[in-house]
């Protein structure tokens, strides 16, 4: 069974923010919400690296574990989605997520939160495929059209990979073999370098 995954090759990411722009435009993401962001480590210093981050569609998603109204579900492709009709905007998933993926549009005065919004892996939501409701609540459903997430498809350097985890791993493994070494963007030497 295919399990959809994202992988960002930090050796290739040039911080162009094309993925961020493509996502916002494709899904008409509300103002103040970024489903995808590019994070730069050691900005302006030698060894600077950028990584594009969004919901990683965890196999054992902590957001789903803490949701008090159980609005999360995992599709057969391993994509973690949620039902906005059930979400109460409590913010628990935001605190549970290690990637900061769940975000909330401001819905009223005094900073009151609306329904949670996050990356859908371009798979829409529980509404019928291609319905107006689905587009308005979750954005376009590209997976139902036989396409992969736009952020990955528009990536000019093909740093951002999206698709079946096995295929993504194959592509990345081939690159690492060709480069003769793994990137040292993360690992013990990066986490405890001081």
């Amino acid at each position: 069974m295919a399990r959809m995954k994202f992988l960002c090759d930090t050796e290739r990411c040039i911080e162009c923010n094309g993925c961020v722009t493509a996502c916002k435009n494709e899904h008409q993401v509300p103002w103040g919400v970024n489903r995808r962001r590019v994070v730069t480590i050691d900005d302006g210093e030698p060894g600077e690296r950028s990584i594009s981050v969004a919901c990683m569609h965890c196999s054992d998603a902590p957001c789903a574990a803490v949701c008090p109204v159980d609005c999360f579900y995992t599709t057969e492709e391993g994509v973690v989605l949620h039902d906005k009709d059930i979400c109460i905007g409590c913010g628990y998933c935001f605190y549970a997520c290690p990637f900061g993926a769940p975000q909330y549009p401001q819905s009223g005065l005094f900073g009151s939160r609306g329904k949670m919004d996050k990356c859908t892996f371009c798979a829409g939501g529980p509404e019928p495929d291609h319905s107006l409701e689905e587009v308005e609540k979750y954005g376009r459903n590209r997976l139902a059209e036989g396409k992969l997430p736009l952020c990955a498809e528009v990536c000019a350097t093909k740093a951002l990979l999206a698709g079946d985890g096995d295929k993504v791993a194959d592509i990345y493994r081939e690159r690492v073999t060709r480069r003769e070494g793994r990137p040292n963007t993360w690992g013990w030497n990066t986490a405890y370098k001081d």
Binding site: E76, G125, G163, K167
Partner: protein, 68 residues
Amino acid sequence: MTPRDCMNKICYGILIAMPLLLSGCYESPDVTFHEPGVYKGKIDKHELSQDERNEVLRKRIMAVQTDR
């Protein structure tokens, strides 16, 4: 109007108001119990079967995600 008539009107008023006020204290015995950790939302249905979707997406990743 005598004080007695006035008292009677107040009593009738209280008799009418009390059931209305007490009806607000009614609690429905039909409570919906949910199992924790079980998805409560709508079912996500797809036009294509799982195998068909996997095949389409496999072709797509080979077409657009591999190196040029």
